[in-house]
């Protein structure tokens, strides 16, 4: 797994999907379950903060686009 600082949103989501399918399959080593959950928690927090930040930026830019004067 990449460290939190250089992982992309898509990589984080892909990793989450893998963790989810492992847990869903039910064959996860119990010793690893808590570390997987902790990793998932960290990934979710990372994704949430990326999403929130991008959402803020996007909203700001959309407002700017909408407020633009007619193209000339």
């Amino acid at each position: 797994m990449k460290t939190k600082s250089n992982i992309t949103y898509n990589e984080a989501i892909e990793r989450l999907d893998v963790i989810m399918s492992q847990i869903n399959a039910g064959n996860v080593d119990i010793d690893k379950l808590s570390s997987l959950l902790s990793e998932a928690h960290e990934l979710i927090n990372f994704c949430r903060s990326r999403l929130y930040k991008v959402d803020e930026e996007v909203k700001k830019m959309i407002a700017e686009i909408d407020n633009d004067t007619p193209v000339s």
Binding site: L16, N24, L37, L51, P70
Partner: protein, 399 residues
């Protein structure tokens, strides 16, 4: 009449006058080209008519003529209204004349009437010849095939600097409702009379010198249907325009059929104002495309964000459930193990009434393991007791 006696010049001219008057008293319809038209202060018009050889252009015949003011005051506006041309040099005309000869002024035709439809036909024929030539040379569509600029902002305008048309054009551009910016620049040229052809060609050459500075050329002129248009029906002008590397828009303000210039131009607008409208409309179309992109980009971004949000929140919802389920499965598996272990426990078997016998601490599995007199310990569910072996019987049928 005595041929031997010399005549005075007057007498000779007088004879000619009388002969002509007696022998050619009728009115004749004559076809000729106007080579000179001179209006006098008194309202008369003196003309010169010529006939040239069709092929060599050599002068074949020539005659002076007079249109007296009583005729000319009617003929002049009638001709203009019918042909769209002033009664001027260069036109081919069909005139009704009487033949006159004056002792002092000589031979002159006295114009009584004009047939404008002949001139119209002749102009159309000449136009058609020019068009045919442009078609034959493969140039007639060249300008029209150029791509029209998507943002026609840098406009090289060919017009007369004092004509109202240029003012109308700029006014229309500057006051467009969208606030588009245009950069018209005037290349001055006469827009009436014989100097039009060379003037426009010179202007085109000036534009071509800095071709990268311009998006298109607009040729405009104010004025209505009565203005002279034959100056736009020349081969050299049409050929230059057709082969010009920038699209040309015309707005030379007339109602009749297209001039040859209009035909070769990329786009014909009726008036300078209409030409400006065309450019504004082209800009507006591009603005609409950009606005459309704006909408599409915004909604695509909004959709992507929404799907990312939904995916993440569904993961957040599912993760604890999945983790709990996973734990439960492990618990369940442990329980099953536990039950199996329990089922295998000796205590449970003893409680069912079975017993376990040991001899010297070793589990007795066969009668061969004990001798009569040996002491054995029997374990049952709630305790144990000691016994001494009296005898032992081995089942014969058991292996």
């Amino acid at each position: 009449m005595n041929n031997n006696e010399p005549l005075s010049l007057y007498a000779l001219n007088n004879i000619v006058r009388n002969v002509l008057a007696e022998n050619m008293p009728a009115r004749y319809w004559v076809v000729a080209e106007l080579s000179e038209v001179r209006e006098t202060a008194a309202g008369h018009c003196y003309i010169e008519l010529v006939q040239r050889d069709e092929d060599t252009n050599e002068m074949l015949a020539k005659a002076r003529g007079t249109i007296w003011s009583r005729v000319y005051t009617l003929l002049r506006p009638y001709f203009l209204q019918q042909t769209g041309q002033p009664f001027a040099v260069g036109l081919k005309v069909l005139l009704q004349v009487t033949i006159g000869f004056h002792e002092l002024y000589g031979f002159a035709l006295d114009v009584c009437d004009v047939e404008p439809s002949y001139t119209i036909g002749d102009m159309a024929r000449k136009r058609q010849l020019i068009i045919n030539r442009l078609v034959d040379e493969g140039v007639i569509n060249l300008n029209r095939e150029l791509p029209f600029p998507q943002l026609p902002q840098r406009i090289a305008v060919i017009s007369s600097s004092f004509a109202a048309g240029y003012g109308d054009f700029c006014h229309q551009l500057q006051n467009n409702p969208y606030g588009f910016v245009f950069y018209p620049h005037l290349f001055s040229s006469p827009m009436q009379g014989a100097k039009v052809e060379q003037g426009i060609i010179d202007a085109l050459n000036s534009i071509a010198a800095n071709i990268d500075c311009w998006d298109l050329v607009v040729i405009i002129r104010g004025g209505g249907a009565t203005s002279e248009l034959s100056c736009f029906d020349t081969y050299d002008l049409a050929n230059n325009c057709a082969q010009f590397p920038l699209p040309i828009v015309t707005g030379i303000g007339h109602q009749r059929d297209d001039t040859v210039l209009d035909i070769v131009a990329h786009t014909r607008a009726k008036t300078p104002t209409a030409a400006a409208e065309l450019l504004i409309h082209t800009m507006a179309q591009q603005a609409a495309i950009i606005d459309d992109f704006k909408q599409k980009v915004v909604s695509a971004v909004v959709n992507r964000m929404e799907s990312a949000r939904m995916h993440l929140s569904s993961t957040v919802r599912q993760l604890p459930v999945a983790a709990k389920l996973c734990l439960q499965k492990h618990y369940h598996r442990l329980e099953l193990f536990e039950a199996e272990v329990k089922a295998a426990s000796p205590r449970r078997i003893l409680s069912l009434g079975y017993s376990l016998t040991t001899c010297n601490g070793v589990v007795v599995r066969s009668v061969d393991d004990v001798e009569p007199g040996a002491e054995v310990v029997t374990h049952i569910a709630d305790g144990k007791f000691t016994s001494t072996i009296n005898n032992s019987i081995k089942h014969e049928n058991k292996e």
